[in-house]
């Protein structure tokens, strides 16, 4: 059904989440290569079947995707080193679907790897030194940090809609509950709302436990045509819809509370032809608690301003109205700098009913939304809607 249309003619045939959370003895490319093996084995494909290579990382620069091809001794017909921040890998999957639909490649491999933790990278609170970049020239003198940007968003949301720190804390508590069910998760000890509220303040109103963890890690996703995927090892996960967008300061007038997810989510939902009520679980980039609340509102799962109530009382837990991040997310499972690939991997595993204790029962449609950059200042958003092959 729909096996020749875009994007339904493309499917995810294999995924792999690198189990490591701390790998001081590995390089980024090594983690990517090990992940590539995992995802190709999962699909029942060989390295030499790959004819489309997609990837990004915290350190890959100009021609980085060519360096990656060399490392893997690959000679693909199609290359995509798009880097729009942590959402990149969600976008890579839709780009891969488009390339496959256009006949530019047949087996696309999407890769990520990072040693953020073993490099001791201050991802959230390291901003910012002098810069010749014309854009950061206007933020560097003022000490803009990643968490600080999200904190300005949280403050404005609280002032505008009455959102509370307790409501944000509930997101961190739910992610930790999920992580206790994930053997790979880095942080597995349960926490309470009080633990979040009494943890060290980083950038008001965001506390330490409102912030994602920093880990090493990586992963891989294999995209191919639905027809091809049906002949492979695992049950295909069909790509139903996709969208990308940005939000930024523009020339100084943009509505910062309206994030990229509003535009990319609407496009993906329309393309997929599904309603919010059709979605069984959502994988939402959780760099900070506020990121989840802002994204759920802007994707339309609840009215803007009502995200606090939506996440309260276990609303996004496995038993809630919309299970979010059953793996424990970046807040508790892993966050090696750019987390987008794990949104896709967990969505696929859930739709293949492979998640044991954290499995969302009867999951048939999943939404994954990645955010890259910083909400509050400038960011990208990429949405994917995935479904079981019917």
């Amino acid at each position: 059904m729909n096996s020749s249309s875009f994007p339904r003619g493309a499917a995810i045939a294999g995924v792999y989440e690198h189990p490591s959370r701390f790998s001081p003895d590995k390089t980024e490319f090594q983690i990517m290569a090990e992940s590539a093996k995992g995802a190709l084995d999962d699909a029942g494909l060989k390295r030499t079947d790959v004819d489309g290579l997609f990837g990004a990382s915290m350190t890959m620069g100009l021609m980085g995707i060519v360096d990656l091809a060399e490392y893997l001794d690959l000679y693909p017909d199609y290359l995509d080193g798009t880097n729009i921040g942590g959402s990149s890998f969600v976008a890579h999957v839709s780009h891969a679907a488009a390339a496959i639909h256009a006949g530019l490649c047949n087996v696309a491999l999407v890769l990520y790897g990072s040693t953020a933790a073993s490099n001791s990278m201050a991802i959230g609170t390291g901003g910012s030194g002098g810069s010749k970049n014309p854009d950061t020239a206007f933020s560097a003198p003022y000490g803009m940090t990643t968490v600080g940007s999200y904190a300005t968003y949280a403050n404005l949301h609280m002032k505008t809609y009455g959102t509370t720190s307790e409501q944000l804390a509930e997101i961190a508590v739910t992610m930790r509950q999920h992580a206790t069910l994930n053997p790979l998760a880095k942080m597995r000890n349960p926490i309470t709302i009080d633990d979040v509220l009494t943890s060290r303040m980083i950038s008001r109103p965001l506390h330490l436990l409102d912030c994602c963890i920093i880990s090493d890690g990586g992963g891989a996703v294999v995209v191919t045509s639905l027809d091809h995927a049906r002949d492979l090892r695992k049950k295909p996960v069909q790509i139903l819809g996709c969208g990308e967008a940005v939000q930024h300061q523009g020339v100084g007038y943009s509505d910062i509370l309206s994030i990229a997810a509003k535009q990319s989510g609407a496009k993906a939902l329309q393309m997929a032809g599904v309603q919010h009520s059709d979605i069984d679980l959502a994988m939402i980039y959780d760099s900070f608690t506020i990121t989840v609340l802002a994204t759920l509102e802007n994707l339309g799962f609840c009215p803007v301003g009502e995200g606090g109530d939506f996440v309260a009382n276990g609303g996004i837990s496995l038993q809630g109205s919309l299970p979010v991040n059953p793996d424990g997310g970046g807040l508790s499972s892993n966050h090696p700098g750019m987390r987008g690939i794990f949104l896709v991997i967990e969505a696929v595993k859930q739709l293949r009913n492979e998640c044991d204790a954290r499995q969302v029962p009867n999951a048939e449609v999943a939404l994954a939304h990645g955010t890259g950059g910083t909400i509050g200042d400038k960011h990208s958003g990429a949405t994917l809607i995935l479904g079981v092959d019917r």
Binding site: S131, K132, F138, G143, R204
Partner: protein, 140 residues
């Protein structure tokens, strides 16, 4: 609050009007006389007309209101680590566009969204003999 040791801003030819203006204690914005757009951050063209022909600099009032802010309690970067907690804020200028800055010499607990603010300038010593300053804001 301990003062921030602001990193020296990098001024390209597109942005020197702003930083030179700050060196004269003026908050300088760009305006397109063709379409009327007042834009910040500065750039080499009017972003809407994609044309530099009718772009001019003017001195803004230096007044505005806080759009949002955060009290930063942890920043490991040089110049800021000793200054924590400091107040970083987006400010909506009376001329229209938003600007990122810091609110200085205040009790962080007194800072609020919507509060009126006025510009001030932190002069910088540079080894290239340019006279630049970093615009910062006070509560009015």
């Amino acid at each position: 609050m301990k003062p921030i040791d602001h990193p020296v801003p990098y001024a390209s030819w597109e942005s020197r009007g702003f930083w030179e203006g700050a060196g004269r204690s003026e908050l300088v914005l760009q305006r397109c006389t063709s379409c009327g757009l007042v834009q910040h951050r500065p750039r080499g063209v009017c972003a809407h007309c994609l044309d530099s022909a009718n772009l001019e600099h003017f001195t803004a009032s230096g007044s505005g209101a806080i759009y949002s802010f955060t009290v930063t309690e942890q920043n490991q970067a040089k110049g800021f680590v000793e200054a924590c907690p400091y107040v970083m804020a987006f400010i909506t200028l009376d001329e229209g566009p938003r600007i990122l800055s810091v609110i200085v010499e205040c009790d962080p607990n007194e800072v609020a969204i919507g509060a009126r603010v006025e510009v001030d300038y932190v002069k910088q010593t540079r080894d290239d003999r340019e006279t630049f300053a970093v615009p910062v804001f006070h509560l009015s």
